[in-house]
Each structure stands twice: as C-alpha cells, then as structure tokens.
Symmetry: C2
Subunit: 345 residues, 2 copies
C-alpha cells in the first residue's frame, strides 16, 4: 500500500511527531512510504526514507531537501523540467497543534487529499478539553466534573485538593500538574498558563484505575485494540509519554472482566460514531466504582498506538479503504441567471 | 485601508457570496480593495474591480483571469518575470461551506494571513446547528428544544406540530421547511436530507418575535449594531434571504424596550466572547414571554450586515485593527538532543 506520512508541525509536540514517524517507518516497512515533513514555519519538505532519523531535523539538515507545495489532490515537487506529484493517501501524524487542532484536516480536505486522521470537527472536539466535555455530555458518556479558568480567576477554585491542572488545548501532559495543596497552586497555574490562555481543573483521583482503548471504523464496523492499563507514575509526565511514542512492541492486555471491556467499548463507540470516522483514535478512560469516565481523546495517538493492535498494518489498510469523502457543493448559477433575467440583463 | 475580499467557495451559498462581494464593493468604495474568487474547484482567481458583476461568474469569464496560489503570508500571482504578492488583510466573505465551516479559517491561519472572520473553532460551533446548541447550553444562553434525526429515524419525531425541519449544516434557509401536519413531513424531510445527513427538528413558533443583532469586539470592547426586526414570510425562504444579501441601505431600528435591547446584547456577548474574536457576526434571536432564545449564529452574515451599522466602514477598520494572531509553537529540539546524548549518538 502507498502511504504518505505527514509529520512535524508548529506544535509543542513537534519532536514527538518526528519520533512517531521514525517508529512507523519500521513498523510499516511493508508499505510504499513517502515522508513529508512540515517544519515550524509551515514549509513542507520531502524526506528520503534513509534520512528518517532524529538528527536530520534537530540539525536542520532537512532544509537541504526538496520543498513541496500543496495543491489540488497532491503534494507537488517542482523541478526544472516539470513537477512530481505525491498523491498517496496521507497519514496525518502531526501531534498537537496543526495536526490535532483541525488545521491539517481542513487543509487536506480543502485540497481533496485523502487522509487517515480526524476530520476538522472531530479535531476541534478532541483538541480542546473543554469541548471534549461538551461532546461527552451530549453523547451520554460520563466525564469528571471540571472547572474552567481564564487568566484572571486564579483564586476561585472550588474543587477540593488534590486537583489536576491542565492547559485546555495541549496533549502529551505538557503543562499538566497534580496539586496536592494550595501552596503548590501558583506554580502549577503558571506552568499551565504558559501554554494556553484557558486552563481546566479536575479532581485528581489517587490510584484511580486507568484504561486505554484504541479503535477505528472500517467497512461500517468498529475495530478495537486490546485494552491497556498504562503504567503510572502519578500521571504520565511529558518525558514518560515522550518515550512512549517510540513504542512498537505489543503490550500486555489489561486483566479486566468481559463486562468492563464491553462497557469501555460501548463508551468508545458513543464518542467515535458520527464524529471520528476516518481516524484511528485512542480514548483514555478512568474507572471509578465500576463506572466508566472519559478522561481524554487522542485523535492521533503516538505511533498510532500500533502496539495495541495485533495486526497493525492490516488495520491501516482497512481504515484507508473506508475513508470519508469531503463532498463539494456545486452551483449552476440558477439564481444569478434568474436575477439577470428579471433585470433584463 | 487595504482589504482583500475573498468570496465564492464550493458551497450551496456560492452565488450568495458573489452577491455579497458585489454589494460590498460599492459599500466599501473608500477602501483599497482586492477581489479574490475561490471557484467550485478550489482554484483562486484575482478579479479586477471593474469585472465584479454577476455575469463574470455565471458565464465562466473568471476563468480567463489570473490564477493565484496561497502561500505563507499572501496570495501569490506568478508571472513570467517574478510574482506579485497580495498580502492585505482578508475579509472572509464565503458563506456556507468552506467559508463558514472553518476550512478557509484554517487555511488562512495555517498560512499566517490575517483575516476578518470566525476562527476555526467558532466556525465549527456556528456552522452545525447541533453544536450551536452545545455552545449556547454551555454559555447559559437559552435555545429551543430540538431533536436530531439521522437518515433512519423519520418516524420518531416527538415535537408536536407545527415543526420546523432544517439540515444541521446549511445556512440561508436552504432545505428548511415548516411542517404543519404529518402529511407534509415526508416531503420536508426529503428536502432537508438532500443537503445533509443530519437534520434537526424544532417547534415552529407561529408569530414569534424575532430580532437580529450584529456585533464584534474591537479594542477589547463589544460594538453592537442596531436591533432589527426582520420582515417575515413565515420564515425567510432562500429567495427572500438571497435578495436580502444585496442590501446596502440601513433598516429601521426595532421598536423594543431598553431592557429587551440590553438582554439581547447580554446574550450576544455570552456567545461571542472567547469564541468569535476577529469576526463580525449576526445573532438571530427569538423572544418568547420576555425570554431571549438564540435561534442561530451567522458568523459571516450576508453583505456583513452592513445595513445594520451606522458607520460600517469605521466598524471594519476598528475590527481589522483588533484581529487575533495565531501563535505558532516553536521547539528547540531539546528532547531529541537529550535522547541522542543518552544513546551516545
């Protein structure tokens, strides 16, 4: 299968995306892969597979590689004697801003390039944790009670300690802190507000059971990964999650009852359907007293959560054969014709 | 002031956008205007001001005009001897799909082009009437009770007649019908589902008071238009609204109490703040028993609702001096460096 891996982006998770792409290069070695790098200035570069290593980017060597522009149906490499089109289906592997906020989705849809990844609406509802709450509420999926803070409301927090403080719009635990008592609050808020003008506060549930489940829809059916119980160090901080993005070996299945597994899948499906079609996403859940709560949605999980699937390449093939099409509206200038007629023009 | 008017789009409201642009050409004659047309295939064209008439588009004459590409900071016209950049602030005047669904916003933000219009998130919440309900609920603004239908639930409607049936994602009354009894339902649903796979049903309030209010934020303050009481023909159907888009003379202020005017403004502000910054929007409200209900949000109203403002050109100038910036995240490859070090590479 032909696939273009799009990675990088002007995002705090820029480096994570590079690590994800390098990991998938190995994991998808049976595919015919093209690598397109989006740098922090939003310039696209074609990266040879053999150059897919971290130093190509950290040392700026990518700047010597061919630039690409985006046009209807393809990324284009212009040469002296004509241009080459890269028109394979794109795997959107840009984590965080650009990739997960809906920008890349809008861009690819606008230029009619097929892609694996969340569409624009789905991105907006998963990227901003405030809107994820609205989505889960509307879909009948429980989530923890939360408070929203903007810069000027530092001192009105009603949630009892310990609390968790998160920027509304970042993934990979960037800017997230657990706050056990008031003396730690200022520092936590400073860290969170460094990354976003909106911050959410939730109760921090010590020792809560946490389960991750990935899945996607193909051939009108849901396909699920195994359920993972992530290792915890209070919560996965940035460095831990970062290393997590390079994982490629399968993890152990969580030891949970069939009943709980069904509950997790049912909640996943409520969130996914009529929203995330075209994407392979991971939902992270809490389980409290047997009740399932949505913690967050990762619409482009690190390395596509490949380690949670038994036959990952087959999953990507199925998904890429079930992508939604953006239908363009057409007009026949009927109204302008009728006005022109009425005016005698 | 320099301003690029971007209009057209692959939208059922393509023609409306052309009419809007032609109207604003007159209304903004004191500005230094550039016209960029997006055709139904998403190709951009530079249109000379003198060619801004309906037949340029309906007869396909625009195809002979210079093509533009979009790049960092500007629309670009490539010529034999170099290229010309059109880097003025853009007024996004594409109604319906592309313009109001968030695609154009994402595109302009991605390429760092300043624009007047709703940002991507704001577009998603105003374009889809289902999500507008979530937004108004979260912001404490009343809206009518509704039901959501997908293709297969024709017969489960619980709202008593008369009802109004609308595609979830279109503006300008396209596909909208008032249904007084069950015998009319099938036809109404067919019309609505022709345009969208999701339809919403609301009670139709005969003779309800309807008020339109436009506004925007500039210099950290809200600026409001007069309140208009639209003329009604049950509801404004497509042709009526269409003609409405070419309006340029001021309408009469609705005769309402100061108290109601304040209530309308307070509700508008709840919807606008922390969401629609950068846009001049129009909110359409119902008033029932003195209570204000949000009917819908027009994030790019026809002809920018110029007829509701006393000094429209001044409004656009103020707004264009208060546009939000999309801040790009930067990385310094710190994590990759630290990993490389740990690995001894």
């Amino acid at each position: 299968m032909k696939l273009t891996i799009l990675f990088g982006g002007a995002s705090f998770e820029h480096e994570i995306s590079i690590v994800s792409a390098i990991t998938l290069r190995e994991k998808l070695s049976s595919f015919n892969l093209t690598f397109v790098f989006c740098d922090q200035d939003h310039t696209f570069y074609l990266i040879e597979a053999s150059k897919m290593k971290a130093t190509t980017f950290s040392r700026g060597e990518y700047k010597k590689m061919p630039k690409l522009s985006i046009a209807n149906g393809a990324f284009i490499q212009k040469g002296l004697f004509g241009s080459t089109e890269y028109d394979a289906t794109v795997l959107n592997l840009i984590h965080g801003a650009d990739g997960e906020d809906g920008s890349i989705a809008a861009l690819l849809d606008f230029f009619s390039i097929k892609y694996i990844g969340p569409r624009m609406d789905a991105s907006v509802f998963s990227y901003d944790k405030r809107y994820t709450k609205w989505l889960s509420h509307a879909r009948g999926v429980k989530s923890l009670k939360h408070e929203e803070l903007s810069l000027k409301e530092h001192n009105n927090i009603k949630t009892p300690y310990p609390i968790i403080v998160k920027p509304s719009r970042l993934g990979s635990s960037i800017g997230v802190s657990v706050v056990k008592e008031e003396s730690e609050l200022d520092y936590a808020l400073d860290s969170a507000f460094e990354f976003d003008s909106s911050v959410i506060v939730e109760p921090f549930l010590q020792g809560v059971k946490e389960y991750n489940l990935a899945g996607f829809m193909a051939n009108k059916k849901m396909h699920f990964s195994i359920v993972e119980e992530p290792q915890k160090n209070e919560f996965l901080d940035f460095e831990k999650k970062y290393m997590d993005f390079s994982r490629s070996s399968q993890v152990l299945k969580a030891e949970i009852s069939k009943e709980l597994e069904s509950k997790l899948k049912a909640n996943f499906e409520k969130i996914y359907k009529n929203m995330f079609e075209g994407a392979l996403i991971r939902c992270d859940f809490f389980v409290v007293d047997g009740e399932v709560y949505l913690n967050e949605i990762n619409p482009i999980p690190g390395s596509m959560a490949n380690y949670l699937f038994e036959d990952f390449t087959n999953c990507l093939e199925m998904l890429s054969n079930s992508l939604p099409h953006a239908k363009r509206a057409r007009t026949n200038y009927e109204y302008i014709h009728s006005i022109s007629k009425a005016k005698g023009k």
